[in-house]
Amino acid sequence: MQIKGVRLPGMSSLLLWGLLWEIVGRTGFSFFVPPLSEVVKTLFEIIGTTAFQKALYETAYAFCSGVFFAIVIGIPTGIMMGKNRLIDELLLPWVNIFLSAPLTALVPVLMVLFGFGMKSIIITTTLFAIWIIILNARVGVMQINRSLVEMATSFGASPWAAFTKVYFWAALPEILGGVRIGIIRAVKGVIIGQLLISLVGFGALFELYSNNFLMKHFWAVLVVLFALAFSISEFLAYLERRVSYYAAKR
């Protein structure tokens, strides 16, 4: 966005909303909305505490593992679905069902199957992220220019070479788009997992602070979580822009 010829950096509107938050907080409108400055002050207070760092570690661990599995399982599955009619027919209904299913309702089932520990939280995170990654990789592969596939075949590409040298790269813009949305969904997944399965990580902090009406603390953790998710998502959006120059020309 530009104002009087000056180019504003991305997400400048956040400043405006932050200001509004501060004003509303200072009017004492509600107990639940402390001023932003207070929240930030609390944030710096709790950020050094062991409780917070332990929560951050537990959340990051579950999040990263969950996203890792979603990516390494999701991308190849999506590519195979896009390339093989039979696999596609078999799996597509399930992918669509799980994409729209209320996964939160499935969490108790996971607890029965995988226990109350970290394993269930990681699986919940993966389940939130993986379906959109599969679908995007599938679409990316399906719309690869036909002559690019024929080119690889006519020059004698083995299936593995075609996969790693052509299909993956040709579908990369869509794959990255899927991973970005998947990661945003995984943030939701990891917190829901931590709230429902066992109270650890940020989920436990949210529970603790809201039950004790520590709203400044509550918002501080939420701000941290938002900042993390936002940074990862922006980084992936940057990668996406790096490859988008060829997205239109495949």
Partner: protein, 266 residues
């Protein structure tokens, strides 16, 4: 067919020196007969055009020769051995170039060799040679989206040349470039046929282009596709490239082909 001795001998000679020979090839898509019992020979070292109205199956035939499509019936021999799939003896030039948009010109040109497992330094040496030959020197590090359509097709051509296949299969290679570039390409193609000892199979829908570049023109007629006529311009190869289009033989053949195709154009 005239049964004179000279002609019979001539036939025997060309049969033994066919780089590609297609015999009795049919291709059905369900009920639709795309090609029916098609037989055609492609003499070595020459350029043969497949010419016909759209939907006559010329691209289908080219892809069958390339091994990208399987014929329903019939067989194809390349250098005497039957085609079962894509092979190192054939290279394909695509209508829409089929370049890797994420790879530089040099990697694109060397990609055929890369897929054949040639070491990086060796394949880049070969690629550099052909980049020069097609006139793209200085663009080795450029990406396809930075090049014009004509230059992109030069990359496609260099890629096909660099694998050093006996047979070059070209699917309407100049149809996506502008008219002036196309004329330059046609002249360059004549030089290529003269200098490289390769067999060219060239699909086109332009009568003028076919007559200009070909040693042999196979006219294909549609539904189901068959070879209606084979025309061999005799005196055009010796002419200067600049004067071919004013030659009376060139003009006669163009007229003749148009007369035979006219009724098939919707």
């Amino acid at each position: 067919m005239l049964q004179t001795n000279a002609l019979a001998e001539d036939t025997v000679l060309t049969q033994t020196d066919n780089a590609v020979s297609v015999s009795g090839v049919s291709k059905n898509y369900g009920e639709v007969e795309a090609l029916k019992n098609l037989t055609l020979d492609f003499p070595r070292g020459q350029l043969t055009s497949l010419l016909g109205p759209s939907g006559c199956g010329k691209t289908t035939l080219l892809k069958i020769i390339a091994g990208l499509l399987e014929p329903t019936e019939g067989k194809i021999l390349v250098n005497g051995s039957p085609v079962t799939g894509p092979g190192e003896d054939r290279a394909f030039v695509f209508q829409d170039f089929a370049l890797l948009p994420w790879a530089s010109v040099i990697r694109n040109v060397a990609f055929g060799l890369e897929l054949r497992g040639v070491a990086k330094s060796e394949r880049e040496d070969i690629a550099n040679k052909y980049i020069k030959e097609v006139g793209l020197e200085g663009f080795e590090k450029s990406f396809p989206h930075e090049l014009s359509g004509g230059m992109r097709q030069r990359v496609g051509l260099a890629r096909a040349l660099s694998v050093d296949a006996d047979v070059l299969l070209m699917d309407e290679p100049f149809s996506a470039v502008d008219e002036q570039t196309r004329r330059k390409f046609q002249e360059d193609l004549l030089a290529l046929v003269a200098n490289e000892n390769k067999t060219f199979i060239f699909v086109t829908h332009s009568i003028e282009e076919a007559v200009y570049v070909s040693d042999q023109i196979a006219i294909l007629l549609p539904r189901p596709s068959r070879v209606a006529d084979i025309i061999r311009p005799t005196g055009l190869r010796e002419k200067d490239v600049a004067s071919i289009r004013r030659d009376s033989e060139y003009l006669d053949i163009v007229d003749e082909i148009w007369a035979s195709l006219k009724s098939y154009v919707e």
